[in-house]
Amino acid sequence: MRFVLRRLGFFVLTLWAALTLNFFLPRLMPGNPALAAIGNHRGALSPDALKVMEAQFGVGHQNIVSSYLHYLGDVATFKFGSSLTTQPGNSVGRIVLDAIPWTLGLVGLTTVLAFVLGTGIGIVGAWRRGGRLDSIMPPIFVIMTVIPYFWIGLILILVFGVKLRWFPYFFSYDITLAPGFNLAFIGNVLEHAILPAFTLLITTIGTWILTMRNTMITTLAEDYVRMARAKGLPGRRIMLDYAARNAILPNLTGFAMSLGFVVGGAILIEEVFNYQGVGYLLLQAVNNTDYPLMQALFLLITVAVLVAILFSDVATAILDPRTRGAT
């Protein structure tokens, strides 16, 4: 219980740090560019939204302490002001909520898939150590970790989109179709998700494979595995019930953590495929110097990560009694 409370305290502290960063960053930058941007769009904003943004970015000459408190209050009540240029005048909260399902669907499902596949390959690779799978895996992993995500996306677009014309590579569905719950539309959405999902899969799967493989190798050297071998248990059973079961813990916590990175983890992939999720929206806000939208998205991405870390800490404490006393 004490452990959970301490993690909760850390959660609140980090959240506060992120908010404070959000508040002071525009003020620290030369010439406070946010101020100018808001000044240019003053006319399009509702008085309520303007008030929120005045506190956040320091329009007018308010006392910085009172602005800061005002800003914290606004965030606590989910007031983020309105968009300046991306969708002028619309509330930031509304725009963000529209983008979230697309990211969750694409990145969320792919993350689960990558975890399951990668862990499986890692288990088999470590079990057949020195075998064919194990000897080609590490070099491929080395290469995969050094390729920029967005570039893999670009190359896939070149090969499967432009040259072979197998898959569409622009937006999340055919713009000529009316969105709705019918087979044609859902099929179209899935078709558009193939290339970005595949890009994400091949760039993230390596970490799962390698972590699983390395922990598994350590676990395979444990006495209880040797004992199981000595007892003459079938190889499959030793691999899964004795070794993998114990070795999977780091991968599981990693998985809990990676769920937090779903929201902001595929920014560049969404950008390359013009897929209208959170990441694409963030870059639109950046390109349009739409600071209120940008700041709200950064906050959302940070909060998602923080919540996931909290969950993974608690999960580890439940699954692995050894960690409870530690931190």
């Binding site: 740090a17 930058m29 050094v146 920029p148 940070t302």
Partner: protein, 327 residues
């Protein structure tokens, strides 16, 4: 910020020993330095991965140092016919602006390499200072510094880089190094702190304290040399991340658009729809360069990991035994 940027490439800094295996620079001096240098040279030449990585990195260093020797064309000059295919005059063809692509790739090496080495060195130095002082000073200092490390660790780095980049409007090489360093030192600091904590009660430190040495001396001469392999790993990992981070930032248009660099080349290529207009090389070649440079750092890192952790070494010699057991 400026200080870090300025010290980026200075070989006289203590961390410069890290460069030794790659660039062949003389060690920072002293007996421990010379011994560490010899050990590292031996490690690099005896490990195939390390040799490959070092050779690759050396090639990039040479290209970055003497780009004019290799490519005689001015990379910026828009003087050639537009969108030419590869030919003897233009090895990789020309861009949609009429610049020579080969010259751009060659001249683009320098900023990328500077950012990689600068940020790799910067992060390692800051992480060492903060991580080791936290562990050595203990008490309140450790509490505060440890908390700062942990908070920074969980704030998502790439979105934060995007936010900072959007306020800066076109980050040049120095600013890029500074920003990437500031955002990414925390992971290493945490590792080093843990390592230093495990050393705290060792006898040789106790002896130094009894001799009446100052804290600074103990940290610099007694503690830090024991962490050489961690520092090298940190430098290589952070250099790799700096390559990927900076290229990604440049790709989305947050770099200085007037500096020819692989990331900005990709930005311009994407903006001019290079694939659709049949100029695939404009996207493929800079990407391959990023991959090759990243591979150099990753291979070196992987090799040092194998040297430091014997459990991960390939198991060629064990193979015979295993076959016998199975049979």
């Amino acid at each position: 910020m400026a200080v870090i940027g300025a010290t980026g490439g200075d070989p006289a800094l203590p961390g410069a020993a890290n460069l030794a295996p790659a660039g062949g620079l003389p060690p920072a001096g002293g007996i421990t330095g010379a011994r560490a240098f010899r050990r590292m040279t031996r490690a690099v030449t005896s490990n195939r991965k390390a040799t490959a990585g070092a050779v690759l990195l050396l090639i990039f260093c040479l290209v970055a140092a003497f780009p004019g020797v290799i490519a005689r064309d001015d990379p910026e000059a828009e003087i050639y016919p537009r969108a030419l295919g590869p030919s003897l005059h233009h090895l990789l063809g020309t861009t949609a602006f009429g610049q020579d692509l080969f010259a751009q790739v060659v001249w683009g090496t320098r900023p990328v390499l500077l950012i990689a080495l600068g940020a790799g060195l910067g992060t390692t130095i800051i992480a060492t200072l903060i991580g080791v002082s936290a562990a050595y000073l203990g008490g309140v200092w450790d509490g505060v510094l440890g908390l700062i490390i942990d908070v920074l660790l969980v704030i998502p780095a790439f979105p934060l880089l995007i936010i900072i980049g959007s306020y800066l409007h076109g980050a040049g090489t120095g600013v890029m190094i500074a920003v990437i360093t500031l955002v990414s030192w925390s992971y290493t600091a945490r590792q080093l702190r843990a390592q230093a904590l495990s050393l705290r009660s060792r006898d040789f430190l106790e002896a130094a304290r009894v001799r009446g040495e100052r804290s600074l001396y103990i940290i610099a001469v007694e503690i830090i040399p024991t962490m050489t392999s961690l520092l090298v790993a940190s430098f290589l990992t952070n250099a790799l991340y700096a390559v990927l981070f900076s290229s990604s930032l440049q790709f989305i248009g947050l770099g200085d658009p007037n500096v020819t660099s692989w990331g900005t080349m990709l930005y311009w290529a994407e903006n001019n729809e290079a694939f659709q207009t049949g100029q695939a090389l404009w996207i493929i070649v800079p990407g391959l360069c990023i991959v090759a440079l990243g591979t150099a750092f990753a291979l070196l890192n992987y090799a040092f990991d194998e040297i430091g952790n014997p459990a991960l070494r390939p198991v060629r010699s064990m193979r015979g035994k295993r076959v016998k057991r199975r049979g």
